[in-house]
């Protein structure tokens, strides 16, 4: 470990340090809220700066196990944003329920370091451990409301299935190591290029390894038919955690996919792209169809997040079929989805500031009257999730669809079908998103309730999420440049 290694991995290290720092703060001033928030948010700001600074130039450390490139920087920023939003939105939910903010923040920061490490991993072993570092805190967070049966039930389901999938993933990983003789991503890619070019055959063992790894990853992104954990874990988790779970581990898992499938397994894309197409089809359709029948908004958003995974997979499929735009769309989608979905969950969390408020649809009845601003913001986020311009969700969806259409015109007709199914799904999705709007504006509230009061923190967070949701929709240019840079870091399909 050299000094330059440390400098290169500074954001990650800072993340770990920040978690420790919060721990220390909590030990010094137990139960205090503001110091924790100040340290956490300040620290995140520092990490942001570090990320941007270190991201100026591509670099590697630890003999290639840690890679910094455009993708790393982009994903790190997304993760930091997700965590910052989650921390901002959490107190309004946690405090009325007597849950400490400090442990929450610490665990969350650990999860963030895991996700950041995934985006920087240049080695499969690092990748695996980073993945575990990301998901283990997730299990803990899901069960964070430990006195609540739903929270712990969600947690144990999430944990058991997550561990199961980790084992599967690891088993596959082992076989890939064994057959390629290396744990380095670039090394594996080299070996596989040889196989793809025909100089060596793709052995059954390697195929088995790939299958197991695909399964494990598909589980992490909640692709159908490996999605079962999502609704239960999301519904059960404390709302800010649900918000985090729906975007953090998802983007993290996609980062894993990018590093693994795009980085290491790209030579075999003609094999896995078909799997991705099938997964995308199933994921979109099932997510949306089941979401149609939900009466609990959190559970509904859980299914919707499955559907959004499907849309992101469309981008991946397009990339696999040879379109760089697929990758860009996927990344853009990730960022846009994070902003809008966190916003939506933030509104739910804000409503649940009053303990005892469920996330059932009835909670939203007459919200537009009771809480006009929350109603407007929720509407905006839901419209964005639906994909109505001029919001982030629209442009993101348009982006992946564009990629799919391009791929289909380049000869892969299945991608065309995928694009059409995607838009039909989007139309169906409008039904359940708009149903919430129906409740908010077109139903009378059940009984009068005094208006809620929220701190500046919550409003500031919501304002930021709103701004991003609109900004990514109206002026995608800035983010677009970053995304294209990030996608280029992995390499364009033409070059590979």
């Amino acid at each position: 470990m050299t000094w330059s290694d440390v400098v290169t991995m500074a954001p990650f290290a800072a993340g770990v340090a920040l978690a420790m720092a919060v721990l220390v703060v909590d030990i010094v001033r137990p139960g205090a809220r503001n110091p924790v928030l100040a340290v956490a948010l300040g620290g995140l700001a520092v990490i942001t700066v570090l990320t941007v600074v270190t991201g100026q130039a591509a670099a590697t450390a630890f003999g290639g196990a840690y890679v910094v490139d455009g993708l790393t920087t982009f994903l790190d920023l997304v993760f930091i944003g997700i965590v910052a939003f989650t921390i901002v939105f959490a107190p309004d939910y946690l405090e009325p329920r007597g849950l400490p903010l400090a442990e929450f923040t610490i665990v969350l920061l650990f999860a963030m370091t895991g996700a950041m490490l995934i985006s920087a991993a240049g080695d499969l072993l690092v990748l695996f451990i980073a993945l575990e570092l990301m998901v283990l805190p997730g299990y803990l967070l899901a069960g964070y409301h430990k006195s609540d049966g739903y929270s712990t039930e969600g947690a144990i389901k999430y944990f058991l299935l997550g561990s199961f999938s980790s084992a599967i993933f690891l088993f596959g990983l082992a076989f890939v190591w064994g057959l390629t003789g290396t744990t380095s991503i670039s090394g594996i890619a080299q070996t596989l290029t040889g196989i793809a070019s025909g100089s060596a055959a793709l052995s059954p063992g390697l195929a088995l390894g790939l299958a197991f790894m695909t399964t494990g990853v598909a589980f992490k992104i909640a692709a159908v038919p490996f999605h079962y954990w999502t609704p239960d874990a999301y519904q059960g988790s404390p709302t800010p955690v649900t918000g985090y779970l729906s975007v953090g581990p998802k983007v993290g898992a996609f980062a894993l996919i990018l590093r693994l499938f795009v980085g290491a397994l790209y030579p075999l894309r003609s094999d896995w792209v078909q799997v991705v197409i099938v997964l995308a089809l199933l994921t979109m359709s099932l997510g949306n169809l089941v979401a149609l029948t939900q009466t609990n908004v959190k559970r509904m958003l859980a299914y919707s997040s499955i559907a959004h995974t499907g849309y992101m997979l469309v981008g991946l499929a397009a990339y696999g079929a040879g379109r760089q735009e697929g990758l860009e769309g996927l990344l853009y989608y990730g960022a846009a989805y994070s902003a809008m979905n966190l916003g939506a969950f933030a509104v739910i969390a804000a409503l649940q500031r009053r303990a005892g408020v469920t996330s059932n649809l009835e909670t939203f009845a007459g919200l537009g009257r009771r809480e006009p601003w929350l109603g407007v913001l929720m509407t905006l986020f839901l419209l964005s999730l639906t994909g109505i311009p001029p919001t982030a969700g629209f442009f993101a969806k348009a982006y992946v669809i564009l990629a799919a259409v391009q791929a289909s015109q380049a000869g892969n007709a299945a991608l065309g079908v995928l694009a059409v199914v995607a838009v039909l799904n989007a139309a169906a999705a409008a039904f359940y998103y708009l149903r919430v709007v129906v409740y908010m504006y077109m139903r009378e509230p059940q009984g009068e309730q005094s208006p809620l009061t929220h701190g500046r923190l919550m409003w500031g967070g919501l304002a930021a999420a709103t701004a991003l949701t609109i900004l990514f929709g109206i002026a995608p240019g800035t983010l677009l440049d970053i995304v294209i840079q990030a996608a280029r870091a992995i390499g364009s399909p033409g070059a590979a």
Binding site: I156, K157, L160, L161, F164, S165, I168, L202, S203, P204, A207, L208, L210, A211, F212, T214, T215, A218, F219, P225, F226, Y228, W229, P231, D232, D271, Q274, V275, L286, N288, L289, V290, A291, L292, T293, Q294, A428
Partner: protein
């Protein structure tokens, strides 16, 4: 004043009257008639100036007529090879329009004046005059139009006015129904007319009436996109609707729900003649399609006898007159069909006056007996309302074709032309109709004016003659009914030179000769010398004889009270006669069941189709839409079932997914 201004002024005056009355008429109350009536009177004066100039071929009219372009109405330019569709709103006055102007403005004016009295107590007084003025506007545009499309506009506008006026007493359900029926049935014909206009445009690339007719009749070797016969048929469809010919005749009797002046003006004297006018106007087109002309004649003469047969048994005084109108219009179409265009216009004119007279008279009668229209509740009115009686009697004689009244000349000319052009069947049926006409008219007179009074005892003492404002127009109409026929058919001096004519034909025929010349030539008709002692005389005698025969039969059955000639009505004999031909009688009373047929066709079957469509829309079209929705939701519910809440089930699902995944990868490898 230049004719550029005068011609539009004819239309503009009533238009102004309409606008002003519509805007402020309500506030004028009982004085609301001044503006509209004044407008029509001035309009009449202007029209007469124009007519005089036109018929004397004065500058700028000449023989060909004179047109005024107001503005470019529809400038729809073509593109990519299609022709320009540029329609100018403009007027055109030639001899034919001039003749029609006489009828329209004169009768229109008289009806306006008459209405002052007739509608005097109606709360919708101002409204009535506004509508009447609007009608005048429309009818004058119709007569003056120089473009097919402008003609069509007026065609529809008169339909609108007819609708408004029939339904004038809108609180009466029957009136509301009748007005709607009139409009819709007219629309049926209008569709044909509209398509005809489109066909004309497709063929000639112009909708100027003269230009297009010139092209259509030019017999060019270039095949038209639409055969001329089809064009003629389509245009004729419009005439059938507007002039209430079979099978679109059903609306006219119902239209009697409107106030009587309306029946006189619109449904007897002017609007229903529009079809005749239009076919006459389009004579070159019809001349280019002789087979269609035969069809026109057949429709016309069939309508004539059909309507006459119904008129014989109706008891509502206005309905009798309505069927009579149908019948007479049938004559006119028969005349057009056999190529006797000027005879048709002749009959149009005379009929306009005497039928207008009859209707106004019937209005006066109805007024007298307190809005009773059933002739069975009249009788013996001759003494009580003498002006009405005498004028109506003149009208009845005129329509029956008794010389020397107007109807005789025109009807005889029609029958004579039919015979001479070889349409013997038209002639034969026409003769039968003539008998029937005389019969039902004197049945009407007999039931209404002669014999014992059957008037309601409560009303009986209150019967009174109508005010001067109503009787004067009656007499003013009676005069032309008496003499117009003779005047217009007068072949030589002194009338001819007065109007710039010198020919051997009648005055009217002379006027119209330039209009119909081309068609006559195309049909190979030549104007034969009138042979009083030859064939014409013979036909003439037959006409007179049958008219008299009908008249006598009516007298015999329904009585007569004409000074020396007296006879009592014999209801038993009537009953016995009808009992002898029960089928025919019932058919006549029930109007040959046309209303029932229409009910079945349009209300029952049409309703079935419409309801079927609505059912299809709701259950199939919308059903599929909603079905997709519910199938989707059902799929969602079913799929949600795999989310059992049990981790092991989930794990099994994942394991199965893993197996499939691994299996498929292995399959990929194996390939």
């Amino acid at each position: 004043m230049s004719y550029d201004l005068l011609v539009p002024l004819i239309v503009a005056l009533p238009l102004a009257g309409f606008v002003i009355t519509a805007a402020i008429g309500k506030r004028l109350g009982r004085q609301a008639h001044w503006i509209p009536v004044g407008a029509v009177v001035i309009s009449w004066l202007v029209a007469m100036v124009v007519v005089a100039a036109a018929l004397t071929n004065a500058e700028p009219f000449g023989e060909a007529g004179f047109g005024v372009t107001l503005w470019q109405w529809i400038p729809a330019h073509g593109a990519a090879g299609s022709p320009d569709f540029i329609i100018s709103a403009g007027f055109f006055v030639d001899h034919l329009s001039a003749v029609l102007l006489i009828v329209v403005t004169t009768i229109g004016m008289l009806v306006h004046v008459y209405s002052i009295g007739y509608m005097g107590h109606d709360p919708g007084y101002w409204r009535f005059f506004a509508y009447l003025n609007l009608f005048m506007v429309s009818m004058l545009i119709l007569v003056l139009a120089d473009s097919w499309l402008v003609l069509f506009v007026a065609w529809e506008l008169v339909g609108l006015c007819s609708y408004l006026l029939i339904g004038f007493w809108y609180r009466k359900n029957s009136a509301a129904l009748a007005s709607k029926k009139a409009f819709i049935v007219n629309r049926v014909g209008d569709v044909g007319f509209a398509l005809g206009i489109m066909a004309i445009f497709a063929n000639t690339h112009t909708l100027n009436i003269r230009d297009s007719l010139g092209v259509l009749s030019s017999q060019t070797l270039v095949a038209f996109p639409v055969p001329v016969a089809i064009v003629a048929l389509l245009v004729f469809a419009g005439a059938v609707g507007k002039s209430a010919q079979f099978p679109l005749h059903v609306w006219l009797p119902d239209a009697m729900e409107g106030p009587t002046p309306v029946s006189a003006l619109i449904h007897a004297a002017t609007m229903v003649n529009a079809g005749v006018y239009m076919v006459a106007r389009a004579n070159p087109l019809f001349a280019a399609a002789p087979e269609v002309m035969t069809f026109v004649a057949a429709i016309g003469i069939f309508t004539a006898i059909l309507a006459a047969s119904i008129a014989m048994t109706q008891t509502d005084i206005k309905r009798v007159l309505a069927y009579s109108t149908l019948s007479q219009l049938g004559y006119m179409f028969a005349s057009l069909g056999v190529g006797a265009f000027s005879a048709a216009i002749f009959h149009l004119m005379t009929h306009g006056f005497f039928k207008g007279l009859l209707f106004l008279g019937s209005g006066s009668v109805i007024h007298a007996v307190h809005e009773e229209q059933d002739m069975r509740k009249m009788g013996g009115l001759a003494k009580k309302i003498p002006h009405t009686y005498w004028t109506m009697l003149i009208g009845a004689i005129a329509i029956s074709g008794i010389p020397p009244l107007a109807g005789f000349f025109s009807k005889d000319e029609i029958l004579g032309e039919a015979f001479k052009t070889g349409f013997y069947w038209v002639w034969a049926i026409g003769i039968v109709v003539a008998v029937m006409t005389a019969f039902y008219m004197f049945r009407l007179i007999g039931l209404t004016f002669w014999g014992e009074s059957r008037v309601d005892k409560a009303v009986e003492p209150k019967i009174h003659e109508s005010p001067r404002v109503m009787t004067v127009p009656l007499w003013l109409l009676a005069i032309p009914s008496l003499v117009l026929g003779a005047i217009l058919s007068w072949p030589g001096p002194p009338l001819g030179p007065l109007f710039g004519q010198s020919g051997q034909t009648g005055l009217l025929a002379g006027w119209l000769e330039p209009v119909f010349k081309g068609a006559q030539e195309a049909l190979g008709r030549s104007e034969a010398e009138f042979q009083l002692l030859g064939i014409d005389g013979g036909l003439l005698l037959i006409s007179i004889a049958v008219a008299v025969a009908g008249l006598l039969v009516a007298w015999r059955l329904f009585g007569v009270d004409l000074g020396p000639i007296r006879g009592k009505a014999e209801p038993e004999r009537v009953r016995a006669l009808t009992a002898r031909v029960p089928g025919l009688y019932r058919a006549s009373v029930n109007k040959w069941w046309f209303d029932d047929l229409n009910h079945v066709l349009f209300v029952v079957i049409g309703g079935w189709v419409a309801n079927g469509s609505a059912w299809f829309d709701r259950n199939i079209v919308d059903g599929i839409v909603n079905g997709i929705g519910s199938v989707t939701r059902r799929a969602g519910t079913d799929l949600a079932r795999i989310q059992t809440g049990r981790v092991q089930n989930y794990a099994l699902g994942i394991a199965l997914g893993l197996l499939v995944m691994a299996g498929s990868y292995l399959v990929i490898v194996a390939r």
